[in-house]
Symmetry: C2
Subunit: 346 residues, 2 copies
DNA sequence: AGAAGATAGTAAACCGATTTAAAAGTAGTA
DNA sequence: TACTACTTTTAAATCGGTTTACTATCTTCT
């Protein structure tokens, strides 16, 4: 027998009337302040029993209006349909729900104006905290949130001059290491194809690549593509680039999106991997694992990122870490070396 | 020069006090009911100017509490990190935002209990409408929503005995057609690997496969796998199945998730596609397009699905379609025939 | 002049909770 | 008896809007 949930009406006032006590009393009991407020044992039991029976649930809107708290966390990522962000969102969602928080997520498209709108919408709705993979150009809004004492955790990238909690990976070392791997395999003309971006993680990745090449004394070839969700506008430039630079012996893609598009180009052009061209990509992804030959990739620790992000935020929300000014967590990546970057036996 | 947004305090009462009018007047003007309520032109202008100046925005919580409307749409999918659902979510999100609605999404994991909880949470928060890819076993909750006059659009699958708005694809024809394609290519021992599920779309897909085989007089081989998010628990059974049935000449995967896992198994076992085994999968996906050989796949019209879903829901919300009892939209799929299912020239 | 009607605006109730400040009851004590 | 102290309970204010019902003034018409 399923108990009919009283999703309908029943408010705290109804309960009070029904049991001949005041709303105040009921509210105190509901919020576990019965003891503190010295509500008699008998009353507490009567109220709790009744609440149980009718399946009463307080109206969260009214609660939020009064208290200013909403039990909602805003999660803003670049693009929720990108598997990297989708996976992280999923993991964060699970942990948040388990801790009584709901997640609202949305895609920023790396557009500061859209992001600004979204933040202001979230502020109006009194969300309790923010998890953001920030686009450039919203430093001021983030600072404003901080000033208003809102918990904010950035991840995937950081903003200069804004001190927030932060979860990142070691981008520079990751690309440095992967590039080194290529040079160790004997590749010399190594291109780096990436989105044109001043985001911290993208700059760091580029730095790592440059540093490794510099150490080897090879010349860098960098191709920057305008950020875009539309595959065709990524495939076009990559095709042109690869057609023009036939002398390359390896290519390093800076993100999973660029990487998948790049692979498609390579297939379309009939380029042999790795004999014609070795391939490495940032971010691991089904497509890379299952490509033939499988593609060497830098795998981000998705679970660890999600876990750290939500842990840091929950701590802030529980105000148990008021005294900590801000913490920065940097996680390691794994380089999964696969066939696409191994110099065939001569 | 950027105007400082007054995200702080300022309420409708402040405005009223400042301009020596009543809250009521301000509220009417804000809601465009000035004319109807015969507020003088001069007052309207004064109020609007002031509102503009201070950047006043009404508190949505208070609005929702009073009106019962929230401008929020709940979007419940099986798993937000599945690329099919992530893409749809993304498209729906965009259109919803453009129409002044926000989306809250979440993953049901096909778990009716979790789904029930989520629905009841959404009801408490007074979301205005629901978009749901429903798991089995929540017929009652959906009916309850309908009874409460909430707009509900189901997609991807339907529930028997519940008449809601619905956007689906022609699952049965899709698998029938793809299976026919295999038999026409000369394959005879065609396995169908899928999640074990009584969801409408899964049953229809299975029916299509069976019907095509029946017409050809071939024997069906169906392998059902317990639904699971964890790849290892999918890969294991598929591996066992393929190892045991070496006489198969084609395999049809019933979802993108099963398909990617299946491909991985095929690669790991060193099975040659299509010479040893032809492959077809439901859902198109990067992984299939880029596999070598590329994998024949049934591509769902993602944009059309998203578009229809949100259009139907927005119509309901605008109450312009009160008289329509419920509408069912069935969309066509595309079979993308690729190398993985073509009988090599003998 | 008086009734009816239009015009312009507002006070107060309401949505459903939390919280402050205070009241009512009870017991102990001087 | 009156006064303090403690326990138990509650009325009313508040959050920030929307909406109902009503007032007051000015025209217009018979």
């Amino acid at each position: 027998m399923i108990i009919k949930q009283q999703l309908k009406k029943i408010s705290i006032a109804d309960i009070a009337r029904e049991l001949h006590v005041s709303k105040t009393t009921v509210s105190f009991i509901l919020n576990g302040r019965a003891e503190e407020k010295r509500i008699g044992r008998e009353v507490v039991e009567r109220v709790q029993k009744f609440i149980e029976e009718v399946g009463y649930r307080p109206n969260p809107l009214a609660q939020s209006l009064r208290t200013g708290k909403s039990n909602i966390i805003a999660l803003m990522v670049e693009d929720i349909s990108n598997p990297f962000f989708a996976s992280i969102a999923r993991l964060i969602e699970d942990r948040a729900y388990k801790n009584g928080y709901k997640i609202i997520y949305c895609s920023t498209d790396n557009d500061p104006a859209k992001t600004r709108d979204l933040i202001s919408m979230f502020r109006e709705r009194h969300v309790d905290g923010y998890i953001i993979a920030p686009p450039e150009g919203i430093e001021d809004e983030i600072s404003a949130l901080m000033k208003a004492k809102m918990p904010v955790v950035l991840f995937d990238r950081h903003l200069n001059d804004v001190k927030t909690d932060l979860v990142e990976i070691d981008n520079m070392f990751s690309t440095y290491n992967a590039t080194k791997h290529l040079t160790e395999q004997g590749f010399k003309k190594i291109a780096y194809v990436t989105f044109s971006s001043n985001q911290s993680q993208m700059l760091a990745r580029l730095d790592g690549y440059n540093k490794a090449l510099e150490e080897s004394g090879y010349k860098p070839f960098v191709k920057e593509i305008a950020f875009n969700q539309n595959d065709d506008l990524i495939i076009g430039p990559i095709t042109a680039f690869l057609k023009k630079n036939k002398n390359l012996d390896a290519v390093f893609f800076g993100t999973n999106h660029v990487g998948t598009c790049g692979l498609q180009v390579i297939t379309d052009l009939g380029i042999q991997v790795p004999s014609d061209l070795a391939v490495v990509s940032f971010d691991d992804y089904n497509v890379f694992k299952m490509h033939s030959p499988p593609v060497t990739a830098i795998s981000q620790p998705i679970e660890a990122i999600a876990d750290n992000v939500i842990t840091v935020l929950l701590n802030r929300l529980n105000t148990s870490s008021q005294h900590i000014s801000s913490q920065s967590i940097v996680l390691k990546t794994d380089l999964h070396i696969r066939g696409s970057s191994l110099r065939a036996a001569q």
